[in-house]
Symmetry: C2
Subunit: 152 residues, 2 copies
């Protein structure tokens, strides 16, 4: 899990789409104007978002992008994963060296934390953000939630 400015751009653009996309598609030019992101850069981002099945496109006049599904079914983690193509940072994997060494240990601890952050962002949808509501407040039992969020 990595969280860079590109991820922020992507989430911002998707939020713009969720907010301004009613029945008709939203053009990248509109998003570019509102969010002050260069059109060509948006094109690159949306190419990835489309490959990630998060948006669908419509060409021609009146065309643009719309969310591929309900805003309550698109999660922040999916957006970031789509544009970030997370690189494998396993610098001890496959080499065969580093048997239970400190390197492996700390690396594993980081992986756990990274997994936790990913899990965290996997429960926040565009809809949740728009309503400024914590999705976990909807959970019926606190036990279930604790389990969801606990370390593996």
């Amino acid at each position: 899990m990595k969280l860079t400015t590109r991820g922020r751009y992507a989430v911002t653009a998707m939020l713009d789409l969720a907010i301004n996309g009613g029945s008709r598609p939203v053009s990248l030019a509109d998003i570019s104007g509102r969010q002050e992101i260069s059109l060509s850069y948006l094109e690159q981002l949306f190419a990835k978002l489309r490959r990630g099945k998060l948006v669908v496109s419509a060409r021609g006049p009146g065309g643009g992008y719309r969310l591929a599904r309900s805003r309550t079914e698109i999660y922040v983690a999916q957006i970031i994963d789509a544009v970030d193509e997370s690189v494998d940072v396993t610098n001890c994997q496959g080499k065969g060296n580093c048997h239970q060494g400190e390197t492996c240990l700390t690396h594993h601890l980081w992986e756990d934390l990274s997994g936790q952050i990913h899990e965290f962002l996997s429960h926040i949808s565009l809809g949740d953000l728009m309503e400024k509501r914590d999705p976990r407040n909807r959970s019926v039992s606190a036990d279930g939630m604790l389990q969801t969020l606990s370390l593996r």
Copy 2:
């Protein structure tokens, strides 16, 4: 809140310190060897960690760094904040334009999310990571926890 590879290096190095730092300090050379991070780069990171009051140093033979306080009182968010010097990304602040525009709205939504991630990482200590334990599982009441994690 930004989460880059530098933050990962810093957390990794601090974990190494927490694990290998008993009664005596740990030298950067040791950490460099174990974690395969260049010594000079570690020096830069630890300069910031020291300024952030997260570690204390001891010069001379047998010297090195040690945690400034207990591993249960050093949180991941503090480490990342110390090395990342988060840049302000308010591209509408102060300019006076953007009165409740879409730009401001989505920007604000991102700020909320960013704040949530920061809050999340503010509750995970080095000790928690080492014990692979979710700090929130310690909380007495689920209500209190829900409040802690809910959106502002």
